[in-house]
Amino acid sequence: MSATEDRLRDLMVRGQDGDEAAYLQFLRESSPLLRGFLRKRLVRLPDEVEDLVQETLIAVHNQRHTYDAGQPLTAWLHAIVRYKLVDMFRRRARTDAYNEPLDDSIDLLSGSDDAAAEARRDVGKLLATLPDRQRLPIVHVKLEGLTVVETAQRTGMSESAVKIGIHRGMKALAAAIRKSGTGP
């Protein structure tokens, strides 16, 4: 347990310093922990698990400046995934209030294995709804692997506009995920 803590903490701190490989490794090693945590708590909502893993990863990414190397990393990660879990329950409670008559039947359907295998929310589709100044930098840098300089040349944006576009776009994506809602 403390070996995991030390390792993740080290990867995160290096990631904060701009070590991309360490950061990638951090996300790769964190996601099974998040998935395990969520799966245990969402036994009755198995098809929410992967959506929430993705939402939590984006939150971890957007909030990684709030991790202070002096605090336990697992406590930080746990607080974030717990927050996202509670947030999802709150959203569902709100949606359920409007959909009460349908609730029972949908509960039954989502219990089956096929429903669990379905990916419900596509982050890629939400990305497509962002304005160009945010979407293009994310697509070029994050999905196609271009550098910021190359992206600036290709889009005609300035380098700082590309960076700002990524930053704001990722926040906008997190907001779009929240609004896209969950539940039936």
Binding site: E20, L24, D68, A69, P72, A75, I80, D122, I138
Partner: protein
């Protein structure tokens, strides 16, 4: 999008993040907001003319210490609530201590006062304007504090909003003491506390709405 692809995308081109920037923003943001409050009290309400005479009185320093301690305590609570996974620890006790000290002083003061003089002691000369003025002077810090929290990642939104509101109220009270002539512990324990309570409640009410992420 598969989770593995999302992870690749998140890591691709990830820029270094400045962990210390938050501290700098707290310092400059809250500092600037406090200056605005100082300007408000100086040019709008006015520093009271006998302010320097008060510097000899122990009760004046008790009052200033009371407000300053609550500013520090509120700030510590807010800063801790701004990051995921940090416990409040002793922050609530730090907030409670100055309040309890002031209330204890107020009770002693009331006991030492003739029954007929107790109500004037409680109301002072400015009870009706005091909480209102503190709330007005709290506003700049309130707005900035909520803005700062929005750039962080509080996970207990109601509490974080309350801490931001309380901190702003304590700054408002500290700044207001430049104008306010009252020195009775009974007065301060009630009306100053009320002035701080109002932004605290407002913060708790709007926290869940404004601080979501």
């Amino acid at each position: 999008m598969r989770t593995d692809d999302l992870i690749l995308a998140l890591a691709a081109g990830a820029e270094p993040v400045n962990v210390r920037a938050a501290r700098w923003r707290y310092l400059t943001g809250l500092g600037a907001a406090t200056v605005v409050a100082l300007l408000l009290v100086t040019y709008w309400m006015g520093v009271r003319p006998d302010f320097l005479d008060g510097l000899d009185l122990p009760m004046f320093w008790f009052k200033e210490l009371f407000c300053a301690a609550l500013v520090v305590a509120g700030l510590l609570a807010m800063v801790r609530l701004a990051r995921p996974g940090i416990r409040l620890a002793w922050a609530p006790a730090l907030i409670a201590a100055p309040l309890l000290a002031m209330w204890a002083a107020g009770i002693l003061e009331l006991l030492a006062t003739e029954p007929d003089d107790r109500l004037p002691l409680l109301l002072g000369v400015s009870w009706s304007e005091c909480p209102y003025n503190i709330v007005v002077l709290a506003l700049p810090v309130f707005v900035v504090a909520i803005g700062l929290l929005r750039r962080m990642a509080p996970t207990r939104l109601r509490l974080a909003g309350a801490a931001a509101g309380f901190t702003s109220g304590a700054v408002g009270a500290l700044v207001y003491s430049l104008h306010c002539p009252e020195l009775a512990a009974t007065f301060l324990g009630v009306w100053y506390a009320l002035g701080m309570l109002i932004p605290t409640v407002v913060g708790a009410l709007i926290g869940p709405r404004l601080l979501r992420w």
